[in-house]
Amino acid sequence: METVKTEVQIDSDIQEFVPRFCQSRKSDLENLSKQLASGDFTGIAKIAHVIKGVSRPYGFPTLEKLAVDLEKAALANDSATCASMYQKMNDYLKKYTIN
């Protein structure tokens, strides 16, 4: 598994689960990419909803904000903003994952 670091410091108890968290987010991004391609805004909103609820405790507050914006854009069927948020999330996670 890749090495990850968190944006903010978190409880050491939670730290051990962060790599798995990031792995899940990678899967989310893969699914988001497919949903963007097919215009599945409901699917995008669902994934964004989950990410928004779980990112901050694992040390990724900015990811939470991106997910909030992504969910709003998906609920508004705004494909341009969805694509932009997806890209930002992608870049963000790469920043915190060190090979």
């Binding site: 928004k52 901050r56 405790p57």
Partner: protein, 258 residues
């Protein structure tokens, strides 16, 4: 130890909750509504932490289902969800949740809210009254003995079966309000799929036994059974209802004493 059932499908949230709760509570996880309902039917719980976005439905449905069945809550419900808008909070609390926590949550806040719920639960159980008086009926909650005042300083004992007692208690606690057969089946047998006609026989026997002047069990078609005073419609508050005793919530229609 306080038993908590967590109904949550997201693995990261489950992990977080385990880390936060396990040192203090006895925690069980359910990942969907189906398994959650099996847990609820098979064991007693103190608190249920309930997510909304579940694979087989909205957690709100569980709350509404319990409310519809008019079950006396044996547990408190804390909704834990990323739906943070005001309307959603109102929906959740109106559906029967005792508290509503928005994700992402602060672990210390969640723990503090759970402690607050525990304090409320303990305060309620400490106020558990040993006797209920409704009209001329006296129900001893410790021994389950039921009697009726039949004259000055005179009481007559009423011999009820355990099932009749459960039915009577449910009707007393919901005085004037219709309780469906389905709900009574659930209260008595803790099952949903039993024939509702089983209840009619027991109600028939119960009616005869408590028919000592002041109270009657009536049936409103398609709604259910309700307890009322003979000459009063069920929607009116009977004049004979005693005022709330000390430490008794003022909304109770009957008096309870320690």
């Amino acid at each position: 130890m306080t038993k908590i059932l967590v109904i949550e499908d997201n693995i990261e949230t489950q992990y977080l909750l385990k880390k936060i709760l396990v040192p203090t509570y006895d925690v069980t996880m359910a990942s969907d509504l189906k398994s959650a309902w099996e847990c609820i039917e098979s064991q007693d719980w103190d608190i249920v932490i309930l997510d909304r976005s579940l694979p087989d439905g909205d957690g709100l449905e569980l709350c509404l289902k319990l409310k519809k069945l008019n079950l006396e809550y044996k547990f408190s419900i804390v909704m834990l969800t990323a739906y943070g808008e005001l309307d959603e909070k109102i929906k959740g609390l109106s559906a029967g949740a005792d508290d509503y926590v928005v994700k992402p949550f602060e672990p210390r806040e969640l723990l503090a809210r759970l402690e607050a719920i525990q304090r409320r639960r303990m305060a309620t159980s400490n106020n558990f009254h040993s006797t209920i008086n409704l009209a001329n009926l006296i129900i001893n909650m410790e021994t389950h003995a039921v009697s009726a005042r039949t004259g000055k300083d005179q009481t007559t004992s009423i011999d009820l079966t355990p099932i009749e007692f459960k039915i009577l208690l449910t009707l007393v606690k919901n005085y004037g309000k219709e309780i469906s057969r389905e709900s009574l089946v659930q209260v008595v047998w803790d099952k949903i799929n039993l024939s509702e006609r089983n209840i009619d026989t027991h109600v028939c026997h119960l009616r005869k036994k408590i028919n000592l002047g002041q109270l009657a069990i009536k049936n409103r078609r398609n709604k259910g059974y309700y307890l009322t005073r003979e000459e009063q419609p069920s929607t009116q508050t009977p004049a004979f209802m005693t005022a709330a005793a000390t430490n008794t919530p003022s909304t109770l229609p009957y008096s309870e004493r320690n």
